[in-house]
Symmetry: C2
Subunit: 413 residues, 2 copies
């Protein structure tokens, strides 16, 4: 099956936001084996939207529309689709009730416009919006499945994952339940991962195994089909075991987990506090953790020690180490990790020191990074990376490696 | 004039990257008064690309294609456009020479594929690629201007700004030189900025004044047309003075300057070093500065003090202040800024303390932020913000306010 994604919204055409919805949906569709051939972006304009829908129905099995479901008169996605399909618009009572309750709770007057958000296309499968007001819709015609989703990513993403994906898997399975699970790997390239499980990818047809690489991470989507759903999950379990026996040391999470969410979750679960000493990453590691709500119970803080002077005076790395081994060294990374742990009275100290570039430092080329890790009274460890690419690529990649090391260590304890 | 943007590349359809090129180009085109009606994304497929070009030529004055100019056989943008326009492909000698020199310098063998990158469409205006290999192109047909740009943003952006924009402005000016300048404002909303200069926007036709808001910043693009280019610049100067007399205190930069680039540049120009004490921003301020190459001459470092304990023990904020005024207070912000300045032996200390959310803290609602600033021996200052929106929105916005305060202070000194 193939799909196209039509995003509706003038803010996209003015360059105020990037079409990250299309990126997200494309990634998820690829994972379940649906090919995306086209993205389209148009403004809040009924004629151009109708043109796009007309074209899209001719050539695509699945047409996903994002945006234009809001309360204003600019929002016209469902109106245009309803007109095109010759269907009526009807009130969706559960959505209306939720919107009314929202306004009562907020102590605000509900305008007539807000009722418009609860209106849906007759005969569609309605997806209740748990993170906003406008519900989503699924409508199947002779040739094509239309999916209408709200524009804000925080409403669209959970709706797609929780409500739309099962419907699409069902379409793919032609009635048979299809279930799927994503395995997330770090520290292994796509080519290497594929090579190590090539025989499984080639011979396994149920579940299918679909690899996808992005941003230093690789995922495998396992999708299984069986008349009995429990059996489908068992098929996935069995294959997962075969895969993990070979590359399990690179697994960090499943489904929607991210490195930083997983790290924060493990810190909270193990009740371990952490502090970071950051040179080339300059606060990026702490800041990434700081983005997670509730992280203040485990993130004590850290020091950005961009200069040797601050490594010595603020963190307490002995001058002799800086003189003999240099700031970009295993010894310095370990000193930084151990001292930051003590200084912040934390269970875990992590450190990043290296060469962001563009110039070399202490004779080390850009991309040379040492990550130190000190956990409670366990012996400290340090890892050296040789990262390629630009300054900020190296910084971001170093933080990901740090998170992965942290996850691996917490899982072992 | 209206435009559409066609991005070519299967990596976009797999969700590996977002189409940030379209966002960038849309923003820049809006600034010079060109309306963008459509974005398109297709994979590396000649038939679908030809379809898109055929449709686009019928309806758009300007068609911008990004991507597909690389060395592999998947890259077929120029081949497809040449075929569609019935033109030949020819070798661009300056580009070939630069590619050859690159391989000699790198000590690597140049493959035949790399020669392919220097091939251009006959009769096109060729844009030399200063940040990569594949040149860009401009081709005018009876009805439409085609612009071909490389896909990597770091190659595409400077080429568009430096080479393509003057050509498009010339098209807009119908032969008369059109020049333009972007004024960048912070700390003022789009609606307020427009109200304060409404009479100028309404009455000024040369230069035109085009406002654009995104991400907490507002820009004004002034575009002037005159047979004599110097006169066109004078028209811009005159209007700029009128605007700045009213809202000059919110100006932070011109053209492509960003808050963080401008702050780094001023720190370097004034030879002022800086250290940051960060609570809710958790290292984001230091990390943003750390993204700028060469910033190590002015960024000393900082402390992420996520807990009251670390504000006291690592930075030295007196317990009495934390007890009586709290961590989210003017006094705490100023203490943090002054003490971090001393601790890192820097000229400037900046601090961020507040409530990221989702929960309240010390009775303050999420979005309450104090920013402290201490510069040399000048009296310290602190600024309170009441930011709306989600946790990470508040953190990012707080960092922008900090950068803006820093810029204002450095400009005054």
């Amino acid at each position: 099956m193939n799909a196209e994604i039509i995003a509706v919204g003038s803010e996209l055409l003015l360059g105020q936001i990037a079409n990250t919805n299309a990126q997200f949906l494309s990634g998820r569709l690829a994972e379940i084996g649906i090919d995306v051939y086209r993205h389209r972006v148009i403004g809040d304009n009924a004629d151009r939207l109708e043109e796009e829908i007309t074209e899209a129905e001719k050539r695509s099995d699945i047409v996903i529309l994002t945006g234009g479901l809001g309360p204003t008169k600019d929002d016209l996605t469902k109106e245009t689709v309803a007109k095109y399909l010759g269907r009526k618009l009807v009130m969706d009572e559960p959505s209306l009730k939720a919107i009314e309750e929202f306004f009562i709770k907020a102590g605000r007057e509900m305008s007539v416009n807000n009722r418009k958000q609860a209106i849906v296309i007759e005969g569609s499968t309605v997806f209740f919006n748990r993170h906003g007001m406008a519900p989503g819709m699924f409508i199947k015609t002779e040739s094509t499945c239309f999916v209408l989703l709200p524009g804000p990513p925080r409403e669209m993403k959970p709706m797609f994952l929780e409500d739309v994906t099962p419907v699409l898997l069902n379409e793919l399975g032609a009635g048979q339940p299809v279930v799927s699970r994503v395995l997330r790997f770090f520290g292994i390239g796509e080519a290497e991962l594929e090579t190590r499980i090539e025989d499984l990818i080639d011979t396994q047809k149920n579940p299918t195994i679909a690899p996808l690489a992005s941003d230093g991470e690789v995922t495998l989507r396992l999708s299984a089909k069986h008349a009995v759903e429990g059996e489908a999950w068992q098929l996935i379990e069995d294959t997962e075991q075969l895969i993990l026996a070979r590359v399990g040391q690179h697994l960090y999470g499943i489904n929607e987990e991210t490195l930083v969410n997983k790290a924060a979750e493990l810190l909270q679960r193990e009740s371990k506090t952490i502090a970071a000493a950051e040179s080339l990453t300059a606060g990026l590691f702490a800041s990434e953790l700081g983005a997670i709500a509730g992280v203040s119970s485990v993130l004590k803080g850290g020091v950005v020690c961009y200069t040797n002077e601050s490594k010595r005076d603020v963190i307490g790395v002995p001058q002799s180490i800086l003189d003999t081994e240099g700031a970009v060294s295993e010894r310095c990374a370990i000193e930084m990790a151990e001292r930051i742990k003590q200084q912040f009275n934390a269970n875990i100290g992590i450190s990043f020191t290296g060469v962001a570039g563009p110039n070399s430092l202490e004779g080390h080329p850009p991309g040379t990074v040492w990550i130190g890790l000190s956990i409670d009274d366990y012996p400290s460890t340090a890892l050296m990376l040789s990262l390629r690419g630009e300054r900020n690529y190296a910084r971001i990649r170093a933080v990901k490696h740090g998170l992965f090391q942290l996850i691996r260590s917490l899982e072992k304890k």
